[in-house]
Structure formats: structure tokens, C-alpha cells
Symmetry: C2
Subunit: 412 residues, 2 copies
């Protein structure tokens, strides 16, 4: 069968329309997981899929599966997944593009009356960002059997609201049983979130792996006091100590040129009053590197840094590793298929590693899988000015259709 052409205008309209839910004045998105806006965005996608005859399944974590049947009723489905939630001040494409490209795949197959052997199923994963409920990639982790629904339902946001009640409020607390053994393979398409594709003028990133990442929660306990009376000389100022950690973490990242990443993205001061010497600070250190030995070196450097700051300042420092995500390698056969699909679609491509984690990381080991990247402007993401072009969006969706149909015809 001939690969149908995707409808670039339709895809762009979908992306534009779904961006209304949680839009920020600066052109970004504030669409936290299981918020009202998340519910509205899901409703939009579900309505579009049911309009073309897809069936909908919602599991207890709110993961939403949109299914277009194939001719072989015994065949496992080919799964395409991404997410609709954003960071508190995030962009309109991180995650969202993957869902809308999946929807466009379903629409293109439908309007071209294409027939596949395998069912094609698009999944909207719940809470990929982890910005409201911890951990990140939660829906996909649940699907992978890493947590029970009860355990995750009881997780709370900063206001004490549980995930369970939030999902119920937006009507996405489902009861469908969906498990990995119902699926034959997994694709995820995403913006690069880095500068390489745009800078080099390449249409498609063929993703071979996701780099490893570790999160460390650091608690600093000093002594608070009145800023006008507490002498500088005797202070145990938790924020002054934290400042040394922030600077040191940057040095650790810069020591791994181009590839390593070291970030303090989260920092809270207590009591956070202008005329009180800060007694406590909590911060999160994130280290990333595709090679485990380098990641170990960075981890050692972090522990040494914390010890140095503690002995220099007298501020007590406790550290707890909260995440250790190994480098994930994708399936060689699917990587080859994506590369061939780009060529077959007349597009340039390059193999690359993902710097960011994705829902795909949770699916690794459960079924063959890979990812596809499209360029984004200036490599910016997790920011309101995250941007892509209509052409980039269409190119990616076309390669996705091509790759899915190749898998459909190759799979036994």
C-alpha cells in the first residue's frame, strides 16, 4: 500500500487549537498534570479520535488509549505515545506535538481509507513532566507495572490535593485494563529540545538512546536569625552555603564539555523573609551524561562539593538520591526503520542521543521501541518561548506514518 500523505494544515490546526487549554499570556502553556486544562486538552483529542471511529480506553492512571482497528484481530497493536501535560511555564510542543502527530497519523490513515494489519493505538500518558505530582513519567511507569494505582492515586501536589481526586474531577479516572503484552512495538515522536537539528538544517533526528540522569535532594540546615543583629562572622547562613553548591554544580557540568549537564533547577529558602538570615534551604541537583562512568565521576564530584561546603560553612548538609535513570538504548531494528522512513520520505536525518528523559524510558524492556525527533527553535524547551515551524511538524508526522506502516507490514 502507498503511504498516505499527512495533512500539514490539519496537523497545525490541531496543534494551535489544543494550545488554548492552559495558554499563558507569554505564548506558552501552564497545563499541569490532571488539572482542568489537562482534562480539556484530553477531551479535545478524544473527540477528534472518536469522530474518525477510534475507540477509547482509559486506565486507572488516566492513560488514554485511542485505537484504530487493523484487519488481524489477533495481532498486537502498534503503540504511539506522548503526553499533554506541561511544566508550570512550559511550551506548546514538548509532549503535545507527539500526541498531535499520533492523532494526525490516525486521521491520515482514516481519510486515505488505509488498512493496517495491526491495530494502531495512540496513548496520552498521564503526568510525564512530574511538575505537579512526583515522579515524572508516572503514567508510563504505571503501565510498566512499576507502581500500583492506589500508591500513585494518593500522591499529593503542593496544595495537598491527590492525583486520584484530580483525575476523578476531570473524568479521567478510568477502569480499563491495558497492559504491555497487548502491544507489539512503541514509537514516540518529540521535539529535540536541543539545538543540533535546527543548527545543522536536518529534518529528522533518529534517536538511538536516552542519556542517564540522577536526581539528588539536598537539605541544608543552618541557623536562622535576625539579619540586623546576627553578626556576619558567626552566621551559618543556609542560602550562602547553597550559593556555593549552585556555583559548584555548574563547574561539575562544565567539566564535561558539550555532553554533560548539571543543574540546580529547584531551590526553596526557609523562612524566605528579607530580614531573616536563612536557616534552611532545599535544592535539587540533577546530573546527566550518556556514559555511566562519566556520570559516576560527576556524582563523586557532587559528594565532594557538599562535604567541602559543609566544613567551610558549618551548615549541615544532607543528601538523598531520588532518581537514578540509566542510559536507555532503543531497538536497533526500529532505529533502522526510522532512518529508512526518513529517506523514503525525502528527508535528511541524523542519529542522536536524547538529552531529556521521555515516557519511552519507562517502556524500554517491555517491547521494541524507538523515538523520532524534529527540530525546535534555538534548542529551547521547558520555556514559554519554545517554538517549531509547521514544516518541521509535518515532516515528523510524515516519517512517523511511514515508519509505523513499515513496522505494520514487517511484523509477524
Amino acid at each position: 500500500m502507498t503511504t498516505p500523505s499527512i495533512d500539514s494544515a490539519r496537523l497545525w490546526t490541531s496543534l494551535t487549537e489544543v494550545s488554548r487549554y492552559g495558554a499563558t499570556p507569554a505564548g506558552g502553556l501552564n497545563r499541569l498534570a490532571a488539572s482542568i486544562f489537562d482534562g480539556q486538552a484530553r477531551d479535545y483529542v478524544v473527540a477528534a479520535a472518536t469522530e474518525i471511529g477510534c475507540t477509547v480506553r482509559i486506565d486507572p492512571l488516566g492513560n488514554t488509549f485511542l485505537r484504530r482497528e487493523g484487519t488481524d484481530h489477533k495481532a498486537k497493536a502498534i503503540l504511539i505515545g506522548s503526553h499533554l501535560d506541561s511544566q508550570p511555564l512550559g511550551g506548546k510542543y514538548d509532549g503535545i506535538y507527539g500526541v498531535m502527530a499520533g492523532l494526525e497519523l490516525l486521521q491520515s490513515l482514516q481519510t486515505s481509507n488505509s488498512v493496517t494489519t495491526h491495530p494502531i493505538e495512540v496513548v496520552v500518558w498521564t503526568n510525564e513532566e512530574g511538575a505537579r505530582f512526583s515522579p515524572a513519567m508516572m503514567g508510563a511507569a504505571y503501565f510498566a507495572g512499576k507502581f500500583s494505582a492506589e500508591e500513585l492515586h494518593s500522591r499529593t501536589d503542593v496544595e495537598g490535593v491527590t492525583l486520584g481526586e484530580s483525575l476523578r474531577a476531570i473524568n479521567y479516572l478510568g477502569s480499563d485494563f491495558v497492559s504491555p503484552d497487548q502491544f507489539a512495538s512503541y514509537f514516540e515522536i518529540h521535539i529535540e529540545q536541543g539545538p543540533i537539528l535546527e543548527r545543522e538544517g536536518i529534518d529528522i533526528g533518529v534517536v538511538t538512546a536516552v542519556q542517564g540522569m540522577r536526581w539528588f535532594r539536598v537539605q541544608l540546615s543552618g541557623q536562622s536569625g535576625h539579619s540586623g543583629t546576627y553578626p556576619m562572622e558567626g552566621r551559618r547562613d543556609a542560602l550562602a552555603a547553597a550559593a556555593q553548591i549552585v556555583s559548584g554544580v555548574q563547574t561539575i557540568g562544565l567539566a564535561q564539555p558539550e555532553i554533560g549537564r548539571a543543574t540546580v533547577g529547584h531551590l526553596l529558602v526557609t523562612p524566605n523573609s528579607p530580614n531573616v538570615v536563612p536557616g534552611n534551604v532545599e535544592l535539587m541537583v540533577e546530573l546527566r551524561h550518556p556514559e555511566v562512568l562519566a556520570l559516576n565521576t560527576m556524582t563523586d564530584e557532587l559528594h565532594a562539593l557538599l562535604k567541602t561546603v559543609e566544613s567551610r560553612t558549618g551548615v549541615v548538609i544532607e543528601v538523598k538520591q531520588e532518581l537514578d535513570s540509566a542510559t536507555i538504548h532503543f531497538t536497533p531494528e526500529l532505529i533502522d526503520i526510522v532512518e529508512a522512513s526518513a529517506t523514503a520520505s525525502g528527508m535528511s536525518s541524523t542519529r542522536m542521543i536524547s538529552g531529556a528523559g521521555h515516557d519511552a524510558c519507562q517502556i524500554a524492556g517491555l517491547m521494541p521501541l524507538t523515538m523520532i525527533f524534529i527540530p525546535c527553535v534555538d534548542g529551547i524547551s521547558h520555556a514559554e518561548n519554545e517554538d517549531i515551524t509547521q514544516v518541521w511538524a509535518a515532516n515528523g508526522a510524515q516519517v512517523l506514518v511511514e515508519a509505523v506502516l513499515q513496522v505494520d507490514s514487517h511484523l509477524k
Copy 2:
């Protein structure tokens, strides 16, 4: 007339009982201005004062005046003031001790059937801390005519709740007209909030001045982005830049040994997510020094620091001075009276400068005034482990009674 002895046990009971309202598990106070707990603490003090026949006046800012009449109905009152609000994680004595010592003064005069020529009036100022509503020392500033009630009523806390509605909710939105020309002089008694009195074993601090202070709000605007993909080399990380400012501010303070203070007590990161390079940071820098020339030097150093960090990091830095409080000198005659009162009460004393600002700073220029300090443990305040002893509390209250009666008999 003989100076009545204060009742040490009664004072300590008052201090203990009033600490219940907003008590924290760690033994401190979280009693923000115009909160429910603030209302409860005021109710406690008002009930105790009315029980001994005092009259109560409440002005539109909630400043609460407790009046014991004198024999001369044309005489202006002697005013004793302090506050009942605390920092978010503050202690049980900063401000509170001053109010309870004032209450003990009224109670001692009453139980000893003492007669004064002038009315004696104790005022509970609203929102000294400025932790919930800006600015600090708000009630006293209103009394001094620096703001209109309408303007201050519309000030909001971080949740968007106004001061006006908060005062109304706790029944302290008054309508009594109270003005500085109704008063002859002003006393404020407070814990030292510094280590000198305890370290040197001195009972009473005779306060001669309050050191000057300046607040600067600093906004840093960098570029947020995904922490896994945004290369270290091109980052404009607002928190990394802020860390350099925090460290630099500490250096500015340490360059003024023992006397100068330089603090970053407040810092907020946006979006504050572990896997997002921080795009924006807001922080407050506070500089204090009793000498204006040294304060000018510190200010110049701050501006130079901000310029250096901006050019080094590419993060755009904006600074706005929000407070410029000059060094306040108290009234020589009243300073002498406090010193003589300590001696007459059999207590040791030393003259000292206040590192912290107080409501008294707002009263300066309106009437003769001074302050009295008592020791506190380890110089700690604005912290839950702020502490004093019953003896220190009683010593201060006794000197206050002596000084007020001396003023009463000397005033024409």
C-alpha cells in the same frame, strides 16, 4: 511615690499563655500580621487590660491602644508600644515581650493602686514584621501619617488577601482616631536580638540609636530551558547568576567587620522545577550599617557586583531600592532616664545601638522616645529557638516601670 515591684510570675504566665496563638511544633511562633492567631493574641491582651479597668481604642489600621487614666485630664499620655505579629517561623519574644511588659506595667500600677499624673497607654502596633504585608512597621508608619488607611488596606499577601479584609475578619478594623499629638513620649522594650548583653552578663541595654538599613529588590532574567538538552556552555541560568550575587553580598558584609550586615534572606526561583534551567530569580538584598558613609560604600559595592555578574553571565539584572531607613537617634533625656532607672532598680546596663529596625523608628521625630533591651539566648531571634529567661523578662519590665514613672513625675 514608691515604684511598685512588677510581678515576675504574672509576667511569665502572660508570656506563656499568649504564646499559644500560632505556636509551632518546634516551640516558636507563626503568627502573621492580621491572621486568626494575631486576632487571638490581641484578644488575650485586650481582655487582660479591660479586666483592670483600661479603656481600648482601635484605629483603622488595627493599632490597639490600652489606656489607664492619670489624674491630669489635660495631660498627654505616655505611650509604650510593641507588636504581637511574628515572622513565619519566628520566636515567642520578638515584639511580644514588649507588649507583655507593657501589660505588666499597667497591671503593676493597678494592683499597687499607683496614681500617675499622665495617662499611661500601651499600643499593639499592627504588622511590624512585614512578613505578610509590605512594608514592615506598617501600623506605626500609619500612626506617623506616612500612609493613608485606604492605601494600606488594599495591600495584599501572597494569596491575594487584603490587609483590610484580614483586619475585618479578626475584628480589628477600628475607627478610633488616635494621633501622635495625644502623646508626650514613647518607650519600646525589646529583646536585644544580638549576643552582647548575655555574653557580658549585663541586665539592661540602654539603646541610643537604630542603625540604618537599605533594601534592594533584584530581578534576574535569563533563559529557561530543558536541563537535559540545554548545553552548559550557552546557558543563561538565572539561579547560577543569583548564586554569585548571594556569595558577593556576603563578602560585602564581611568587609565591615562586626558592625556591617549584608543579607539575602529572600530568594524565589521561576519556574523552580528540578529539570528546568531557571529562567528567572527574584531576590532581596538588605544592607545595614550605623554609619551612612559605610552604608554608601556597601551600596556602591552592591551595584558593582550586580554589573559584574550581569556581564559575566549574560543574565539581565534589574535592581530597585525599596527601603532607605536612615540611622535613628533616640532622645538624650530619655536615654539618661533609662540608664538612671536601671541603676535605681539595682541593675547593670550598657549603652548600645540596635541592629534591628523597630516600630520606634516610625515614631522618631513625633515625640521624645527611646528603647530598652533585655538579653536573649545566643543572640538568636527571627527563629523558632529564640529564647529568654524569666529573670531577664522581669528585670526589663521593672526598669520600664521605673522609667515611665520618672518621666511621669518629670514631665510638665
